[in-house]
């Protein structure tokens, strides 16, 4: 079975788990991620998922040569994987001084959480020393603070990848223990009758 994905040919082998890339004639094997990358989740993730992305990718980014951006992060079950072979750079995730995995990871999480890019998609080129760093929701103080620190104009003011892993792991445990992200389902005040929006009639007059 052959599948075209973003202009690159994959061949799914009979075991259904591995893919081979045929570009310049070379053959490489990589794991196949059917849910592909996280860019489709933009605007739809919760705090728990944001911490998972931070923890998983921060742990992989140091050793990987792949620039961090949403298109290079694949969904792997509950976790996330940084692509092993992507090399393209996206200026929307580049720090003022050039590529920085910490800055790129924070701007990626910002985008996937809110559904919009930092600095209007200009990346660090639009960031000045005095420009306010964008924040996430006020109801997420720990996540917002980490993202703000990671997007600092001065590289020295940003946390390291190891520190991000530690902070993300700690907050993941908090979220999972707290379960505040997924409170028990609320009972409806009244059962009401089944309504169908398709059959809703237009009002006769203005109120």
């Amino acid at each position: 079975m052959m599948e075209i994905h973003k202009g690159t040919q994959y061949i799914i082998t009979t075991d259904g788990l591995t893919a081979e890339k045929h570009g310049d004639g070379s053959v490489r094997r990589m794991k196949y991620y059917p849910e592909r990358d996280i860019s489709v989740l933009a605007g739809e993730i919760d705090e728990l998922t944001a911490w998972r992305i931070l923890r998983d990718i921060a742990a992989q980014a140091e050793a990987a040569a792949t620039p961090v951006c949403p298109e290079h992060i694949f969904i792997d079950g509950d976790g996330f994987v940084l692509s092993e072979w992507s090399a393209s750079r996206d200026t929307r995730y580049e720090a003022p001084e050039g590529y920085s995995p910490v800055w790129a990871l924070a701007s990626t999480v910002f985008y996937v959480y809110l559904g919009c890019h930092v600095f209007q998609g200009l990346g660090g080129s639009a960031q000045t020393r005095t420009a306010p760093v964008p924040t996430l929701r006020s109801g997420l103080p720990q996540l917002s603070r980490l993202i703000e620190d990671c997007l600092s104009f001065q590289p020295a003011a940003r946390p390291t990848l190891a520190e991000i892993v530690e902070i993300a792991s700690r907050n993941l445990s908090r979220c999972q223990a707290d379960r505040s992200e997924y409170p028990p389902m609320k009972i409806r005040p009244d059962s009401g009758t089944e309504t169908d929006e398709i059959d809703t009639l237009w009002p006769e007059e203005f109120v």
Binding site: E44, D78, C116, F119, I187, R188, T200, W202, F206
Partner: protein, 424 residues
């Protein structure tokens, strides 16, 4: 190509057809494109959304619920599933078939299919779809489209806006002037309250010239209005006083050729939402006043509205806050746009377009009575800016928004400023 195809969702005895570019929400809450019944004791939930892939060649489903399982063709969905024609989506108790069909679909439609014996069902369905489409469109035409007389009324209160000249003012003195050989054109409309309403960027055209991705080269731009706007804002910020301003002279022309001459000083604008963007360097700072420098899209450009009081009475009623809530109660409400889009060599010509409200009307949590931008499509082109967004209700119609901006990067999604901003 994706634009020659559209998608349908078949649920029970209904086929819902959507444009290729639409993002569809499946859930129990009001406003969902496919609304499912809630037989549980729990609150309504949004289960999933279906969006077109970024490459435009396919569609994917994103699971939005943490409480309910989702299956496609019997396989559980973790977060994302890339859909194929004929896929069966199952949410407990609900079976939905996803289909990709040939042909363009400009608006969402729904068709009832009558169930019968298999042998007759295909024939009956074809007839029912035909009558259903005609019937629904007649229903739609009667209830949500503007009548000819309504359009004539609107036309009588519609104007092109043309900026003829700009003047750099220092107090009451003209420091410099710029004459447009052929000024930028937008639309304005006259209300029953004797207000002339348009988009702010129609009277301050430099706002439309510079997008956030131009900031890096702003200081090198030679466009006179942009140069002077940058100069005015920088000097005012550095001095702490609004000693300089740019004034535009505008001509409004209606369909019969009658004109009204106004200046931007005649218009009231709300600058509280403006962003002052700091550019340049630490030693040589530059300041740019923007109405679109926002991180989240739906509260940007609420400042893109300008209102002038006249002694003439128009025919277009403005909706108030209660009207907005009633008229824009859910997505899919038919919107009619009126304006003067550019038409090549023939100049700007009056046109009406329709689309539907793409996102529910959303009140700003921190400002009750104020709403985020209205989101729609409708293939709006330059020249529509400043025109009214009309919704029909019962025997009449009201203007609910002022056409503002088109986002070409997002499938030509366009936005309007809700008229509730006029009083803010």
């Amino acid at each position: 190509m994706a634009m020659d195809r559209h998608v349908t969702l078949t649920y029970r005895n209904r086929i819902l057809a959507f444009p290729a570019s639409a993002t569809l929400y499946i859930g129990q809450t009001e406003g969902c494109d496919l609304r499912l019944p809630n037989h549980t004791q729990y609150e309504d939930e949004i289960f999933a959304k279906i969006s077109r892939d970024s490459n435009g060649n396919g569609w994917h489903l994103v699971r939005l619920t943490q409480y309910y399982p989702l299956y496609v063709n019997g396989h559980p969905v973790n977060r994302v599933h890339y859909l194929s024609d004929g896929d069966v989506i199952e949410i407990p108790g609900n079976i939905i078939r996803f289909k990709v069909r040939e042909g363009e679909q400009t608006t969402a439609t729904v068709t009832h299919v009558h169930s019968s014996r298999k042998a007759l069902a295909a024939i009956g369905a074809a007839i029912a779809i035909g009558f259903g489409l005609v019937g629904y469109q007649l229903y739609d035409a009667q209830k949500e489209r503007l009548t000819s007389s309504m359009k004539q009324e609107i036309i009588s209160s519609l104007f092109t806006t043309r900026v003829d000249s700009l003047h750099l003012m220092s107090g009451d003195s003209v420091a410099a002037s710029y004459i447009y050989a052929s000024g930028p054109v937008g639309t304005a409309f006259l209300t029953t309250d004797s207000l002339i309403v348009t988009a702010r960027h129609c009277i301050q055209p430099w706002l439309n010239t510079v997008a956030p991705h131009d900031y890096g080269r702003l200081s090198g731009m030679t466009d006179w209005p942009v140069q002077k706007a940058l100069y005015v804002e920088t000097l005012n910020q550095l001095s702490g006083e609004d000693s300089l301003r740019l004034v535009s002279y505008i001509t409004l022309t209606d369909e019969s050729g009658r004109t009204i001459a106004l200046s931007s000083d005649d218009f009231a604008i709300n600058t509280l939402s403006d962003d002052i963007v700091e550019l340049g360097s630490y030693d040589t700072p530059l300041y740019w006043r923007s109405i679109s420098h926002r991180y989240t899209r739906r509260d940007m450009m609420l400042g893109d509205i300008a209102v002038a009081k006249t002694d003439k009475e128009g025919a277009i009623h403005l909706a108030d806050s209660l009207d907005l809530i009633n008229l824009l109660a859910h997505r899919g409400v038919t919107l009619t746009f009126a304006g003067y889009p550019a038409s090549g060599v023939t100049g700007n010509r009056l046109d009406f377009k329709t689309d539907e409200l793409r996102l529910p009307l959303e009140e700003m949590p921190e400002a009750p009575g104020r709403y985020f931008m209205l989101a729609h499509e409708g293939a709006l082109t330059p020249g529509f800016s400043g025109g009214p967004v009309i919704v029909r209700g019962g025997l009449g119609y009201k203007a609910v928004g002022v056409i503002s901006v088109v986002d070409e990067r997002n499938g030509n999604r366009s936005y309007s400023v809700p008229v509730s901003e006029i009083k803010h």
